[in-house]
């Protein structure tokens, strides 16, 4: 079944040595356990000409081994920054504090050599813009093999054969490994990037908005593919997206971020069923739902206002200026993180959440909020 395809030489079967090595490699990779990640008090700051600011502040969450975590929030809330920093891809001179324990080992602040041992081997990345994230001058097969060869002591032929397996997994024909990125459509490129991310069966998969650049049909296909593969491989995954519908379908746990901070986190079902934070309620309103038979159509409600300027973060709760339920204390005091059951929310008024949920479902509640910046 495994064959080395070549447009120039036609198909030729892989040599027995390659097959034997591939089998050993596959076995070795299949034994890798799913990873456990604990992020604790992660803050990420930049120095700019207009002063220092924190893109991400005091973010904590946990990804139990073998589970999915959805990281949601609107553009610029810091969710991609978290993922990039976990991968060690933050720009130079970024100030990172806090801990990120991958199977107990802190991966923040590792030097290049130590980082190389973590990257792709234990933690791999599905990038946001698959359109530009493949090198235009190398064929896809070479780019996947490169990742394998960087970490596993196997021959080129074996690495290639492994790449063929991965292509089969994402539903691409092996012959196309010889093609260059510009010969692929957007959906195929995204699948190629997924194939690359799976090549070493890393314990933790970071999917950074894997479907953002695609049309809705392709988005749904890719997400189905990711879910299928995930069920098959049983690794842990962080899925960054602004589509809470996708999180609801895919992830056991959810973290809702707002302006660089965690607004609410907890088991997906509970958080979406009974949100504690007004921002989560607003976010939920902004997504379409299929109306129940006979019930009136639910209008989409958007949250008025804009995200605060992180160079001059407002005192108190960062969502206060856009929150219809904000009181005087919200503008003054940073809200504590309150635990209710398995859910955690950073809000002063979690005790009134049930009352807020009813109000938040009405469009008027949000319409009265105007001009708040």
């Amino acid at each position: 079944m495994v064959a080395v395809a070549s447009p120039r030489f036609g198909q030729r079967p892989a040599s027995p040595a390659t097959l034997a090595e591939l089998e050993k490699l596959t076995e070795r990779l299949a034994r890798k356990p799913a990873a456990h990640l604990l992020v604790d008090g992660l803050s990420i700051g930049y120095s700019t000409l207009r002063g220092r600011f924190h893109a991400v502040e005091d973010v904590s969450f946990e990804v139990p081994a073998g589970t999915n975590l959805g990281l949601v929030g609107e553009s610029g809330c810091g969710k991609s920054t978290v993922v990039k920093t976990l991968m060690g891809l933050q720009p130079e001179a970024t100030q990172v504090s806090g801990r990120a324990l991958l199977d107990g080992q802190n991966i923040l602040g590792l030097d290049e050599t130590a980082l190389r041992d973590v990257r792709w081997k234990r933690m791999s990345l599905i990038t946001q813009s698959a359109m530009n994230s493949l090198d235009p001058v190398y064929c896809i097969g070479d780019q996947i093999s490169e990742a394998i060869l960087a970490h596993e002591p196997v021959s080129k032929a074996t690495a290639w054969a492994r790449a063929e397996q991965m292509f089969a997994l994402v539903g691409l024909p092996a012959g196309r490994l010889y093609e260059f990125p510009h010969m692929f459509s957007g959906g195929m490129r995204q699948r190629a990037v997924i194939a690359m991310a799976l090549a070493l069966n890393a314990g933790l998969l970071l999917a950074d908005e894997p479907t953002t650049a695609l049309d809705p049909i392709m988005q749904s296909q890719i997400m189905t593919r990711i879910r299928g593969i995930h069920a098959h491989l049983r690794c842990s995954m962080i899925l960054v997206t602004h589509d809470i519908a996708v999180v609801a379908e895919t992830c056991e746990n959810i973290v809702v971020m707002y302006a660089g901070k965690v607004a609410e986190s907890g088991p997906t079902a509970e958080v979406l069923e009974s949100p504690l934070h007004p921002y989560t309620m607003g976010l939920k309103n902004a997504f379409p739902r299929l109306p129940e038979r006979g019930a009136p159509r639910q209008p989409l409600i958007s949250i008025p206002g804009v995200v605060p300027n992180l160079l001059l973060p407002p005192a108190g709760c960062r969502f206060a200026s856009r929150c219809p339920f904000a009181t005087e204390v919200c503008h003054r005091v940073t809200p504590p993180v309150v635990q209710v059951g398995a859910q955690r929310a950073a809000c002063h008024h979690t005790d009134r959440a049930a009352e807020f949920r009813v109000a938040a479902a009405r469009p008027e509640t949000w319409r009265t909020m105007r001009g708040a910046v």
Partner: protein
């Protein structure tokens, strides 16, 4: 692909023809008398007329042109007025001499420029390596190349006395190819070769650097880094992509560079074809100058064709139609 090469070759022939024609008429409209260099030896009017006839400079311009084109097609560029020898006999050894400094000089200049340019482009932005690299490259690029030559001569020849200051070595001891295989020749070769390298390197360096700086922030570089390959390998991806604009510039730039090599040959009294070309023009030695220019035109046309073909090899997105 084959059709593309064929069409490009046909174009090239056209270009070479145009160059030879322009050259022919340019030399003819220059208000000077090629026999003048011989006049001082006491040439009578009859002798001068005979000489002009012998050189094919009588008759209408059109007749001369037809005869000239016919000769070129058979590979005959005539005889040098000054040396009284067939042009190729004069030029061949000179061409070889020039190739000795031009080929390794340009190759090393481009390769070193690209390598250092990558290092400078990959270095920390605003760091020491980046700043000094750009500074030096810009300075050298701004300095006229004869100054580079003279500086090299002053330092390594006059002051330190490490290298000879002119020529190609003691002539006549050995002949043929063996002549180039002596330590003495290499000793003489060193300074002009270094001058060519220094002259050609900075622009390669700066182009490569700006390419790498542009590419290092691309998304695909981030993914390569995320894969956990060594830093060197990541830099290579950026460099490999930066080669594309470099190649586009490099081959056409060779034409300009050859002009620069003429100057270096003169500074180091290197008996190359460039130096002879300048002399031939000042001496009104038409056949010699025409042959030399013809050679340059052919070289540049070939260089451009090579650039297009190499570009296709380097960039899979290029399709020949």
């Amino acid at each position: 692909m084959r059709a593309y090469i064929f069409r490009r070759l046909a174009q090239s022939v056209l270009v070479v023809w145009a160059v030879t024609t322009i050259m022919f008429f340019m030399f003819r409209v220059m208000p000077a008398d090629p026999t003048a260099i011989l006049l001082e030896r006491g040439l009578t009017d009859e002798a001068r007329q005979a000489l002009l006839e012998q050189w094919g400079l009588t008759g209408s311009l059109w007749d001369q042109y037809i005869a000239y084109l016919g000769n070129i097609l058979t590979g005959d560029f005539g005889s040098s007025f000054l040396y009284r020898k067939p042009v190729w006999e004069v030029l061949t050894p000179l061409i070889i001499n020039t190739l000795w400094i031009a080929v390794p000089g340009l190759l090393l200049g481009a390769a070193l420029g690209a390598a250092i340019g990558t290092a400078v482009g990959w270095a920390k932005r605003g760091g020491k390596l980046e700043r000094s690299g750009i500074f030096l490259a810009t300075i050298i690029r701004g300095v006229p190349n004869f100054v580079i030559g003279i500086a090299l001569l002053t330092i390594f020849s006059s002051t330190l006395g490490w290298f000879p200051s002119f020529g190609m070595g003691d002539p006549g001891e050995t002949t043929g190819f063996a002549r180039y295989m002596t330590l003495d020749f290499l000793h003489h070769l060193a300074l002009p070769l270094i001058a060519v390298i220094i002259y050609f390197m900075p622009e390669n360096l700066l182009l490569m650097r700006s390419g790498v700086v542009e590419n290092r922030t691309e998304d695909y570089i981030e993914l390569v880094r995320a894969k956990g390959v060594p830093q060197r390998r990541v830099a290579w991806h950026a460099a490999r992509n930066s080669m594309l604009p470099l190649i586009t510039w490099l081959f056409p730039a060779l034409a300009e560079t050859i002009a620069g090599i003429v100057v270096i040959e003169i500074v180091f009294s290197w008996p190359g074809v460039g130096r002879e070309l300048v002399l031939a023009v000042t001496r009104q030695d038409y056949p010699l100058a025409q042959a030399a220019f013809f050679l340059l035109a052919v070289m540049i046309v070939i260089a451009n064709l090579a650039a297009d073909l190499i570009y296709g090899k380097l960039d899979p997105r290029v399709v020949y139609k």
